[in-house]
Amino acid sequence: MEKTLSAIAQNLDLMLGGLGVTLVLSVLIIFFGTIIGFLGGMGLTSGPRWLKALLRVYVDIVRGTPLLVLMFLLFYLMPEFGVDITGFQTVVVALSLFAGAHISEIVRGALTGIPKGQADAAKALGLTYWPMMREIMIPQAMPAVVPPWTNTAIEMVKGTSLAFLLSVSDLLFETQNVVERTGIALPFYFTAALIYLAVNLLLSRFGHWLEQRNRYAA
C-alpha cells in the first residue's frame, strides 16, 4: 500500500503532464469542431444546393466511419500527398472533423426547428443573412444546441485518448507508460479514470451553465 502511494506520488507529475496534452487537444478540437459545426449546420439549412449536397456527403461519411479509421486514414494518407503531419496534428484534425460533422447535424436540427415565420419577420425588417443568423436564428437555436453539444464535447474529451495509438503523450499514453514501468496497474488506471471523470463533470457543469444562460422566458 505504502509502496503504491509513493509510486503514485512519484509519477503523478508525469500523468499531469499527460493531462495537459489531453486538455490542449480537447480545447482545440471542441473549438474547431464548433466552428465547423455551426458553419456546416447553416450550410445544410440555407446553403445553395451544391453546398448542401457536399456537406451532406461530409457529414454522413464522417458519422458512419469509426473515429479511429478517420484518424489512421489522415495519418497514413497525408504523407502520400507530401504533407508531413504529426500525431498531435492528426488527432486535432480528425477529431475536429468528427465533432464538426456531429455538431453540423445538431445545429441543422435546431435551425430546422425554428418556425419559418421567424426568418420572414427578420427579412421583412430588412436584415441580411448574417445579421439574421447572428441576432435571430442562432440565439433561438441555442437552447436546442447546447445539451447535445455538451455530449459531443464530452465524447471528444474521451476521444482524445485515441491519441495514445499515435504515441502522442496524452493522459492515457502517460498512464500506460507508468503502468508498464512500475508494474502497478489498477491504481494508476483508476487515477486516470477519475481525472477524465473530473474533466467531463466540469464540462457538464459548463454545459448546464450555458443552458441557463441561453434560456429565455417561456
Binding site: P115, A121, L125
Partner: protein, 260 residues
C-alpha cells in the same frame, strides 16, 4: 397636364407559380400614397402570395412590382430580369413593413426589444432614441406597461399589437397586413382591429390589408380588392362593392360569408 401622383405600390401583370400551380395569373394593382386597401378573397386566391411578393418574401416569375418607384427584387438589364443583390433586397424590405398571421415576434427578446431591434440593427438608430420611440409606439398600441414582457408571457392579441408596433418602428412607407386576426381567439380580434383602424384613420401610412374581417374591410378601407383564382376580379369603394357586387364570383363569396 394634370399632376400625376407617383403611385406608392405599382403591381403590373405579376405572375407566380409553385411547380405546376399558377397562383398569380397576371395581377395588376396601383395604390396611391396614404391609401388603405383591403384585399379579400377565398383561400387559395393568391392574396397572401401577392402580399409576400410585395415584400419579396416570395419571388415572382413575371411582371413588375414597384414600391415608391423602386422595382422589387429584380432590376432590368437589356430587357431581362436580373435578381437584385441581397443587400438591395434588404434595403427595399426595410422600407415596407409586414405584420404576420402568426405574429412572428422574436421569442428571445422582450416586447420593447422586438420593437427597437429593427431601428437599432437595420437603421442604425442610437439605442436610447430607439428605446424612447419604442416605448411611445408600445403606448400607442396600449402596451406601454408590457415593455419588459417576453412574447410567451403575452396573449395573442397583445403579441399582435407588439408586432404592429415593431412594424411601425421602421417608419415604413407601406405596411402589409397578412390575415393578422386569423390566428386570434374571437375575443381578442377587436383590440387588434382597433389599433389598425386608428392607423387607417390617421392616413399617415399606406396600408395593404389581406383580411377576412368584412367589417374592417368595409369601414376602414378606402378601396376593396376582390381576388379569386390568382386574378383581381373586382375592385372599388368597399361599401358599394359589398352591397352591390357585380361579378358572380364576388356574389358567391359574399353569400358564403353571410351564411357563415
Amino acid at each position: 397636364m394634370a399632376d400625376v401622383i407617383q403611385p406608392m405600390v405599382e403591381i403590373v401583370d405579376v405572375r407566380k407559380r409553385f411547380g405546376d400551380n399558377e397562383v398569380l395569373k397576371g395581377v395588376s394593382l396601383t395604390i396611391t400614397p396614404g391609401e388603405v386597401v383591403s384585399i379579400i378573397g377565398p383561400s387559395g386566391s393568391g392574396k397572401t402570395t401577392l402580399l409576400r411578393c410585395i415584400n419579396f418574401l416570395e419571388t415572382y416569375d413575371g411582371g413588375w412590382i414597384r414600391v415608391n418607384g423602386e422595382p422589387v427584387g429584380y432590376r432590368e438589364k437589356g430587357g431581362a430580369r436580373v435578381p437584385l443583390k441581397e443587400k438591395d433586397v434588404a434595403k427595399l424590405r426595410a422600407e415596407t413593413a409586414m405584420v404576420f398571421q402568426q405574429f412572428n415576434l422574436f421569442p428571445h427578446m422582450t416586447a420593447l426589444g422586438n420593437v427597437t431591434f429593427g431601428p437599432t440593427h437595420v437603421r442604425g438608430v442610437a439605442k436610447d432614441a430607439a428605446k424612447e420611440r419604442g416605448l411611445e409606439l408600445l403606448a400607442r398600441v396600449g402596451l406601454r406597461e408590457k415593455a419588459d414582457s417576453y412574447p410567451a408571457q403575452l396573449s395573442g392579441g397583445q403579441q399582435q399589437r407588439v408586432a404592429i408596433a415593431r412594424a411601425l418602428a421602421m417608419d415604413p412607407k407601406v405596411m402589409l397586413f397578412d390575415e393578422v386576426t386569423s390566428a386570434l381567439d374571437p375575443e381578442l380580434v377587436g383590440e387588434v382591429l382597433a389599433v389598425m383602424q386608428g392607423l387607417a384613420d390617421s392616413h399617415g401610412v399606406t396600408m395593404i390589408v389581406v383580411t377576412h374581417e368584412m367589417h374592417f374591410a368595409r369601414d376602414a378601407a378606402d378601396r376593396l380588392v376582390f381576388m379569386d383564382g390568382g386574378v383581381v376580379v373586382e375592385q372599388g369603394v368597399p361599401a358599394a362593392m359589398i352591397e352591390d357586387p357585380q361579378s358572380e364570383r364576388l356574389k358567391a363569396f359574399l353569400r358564403r360569408f353571410h351564411n357563415a
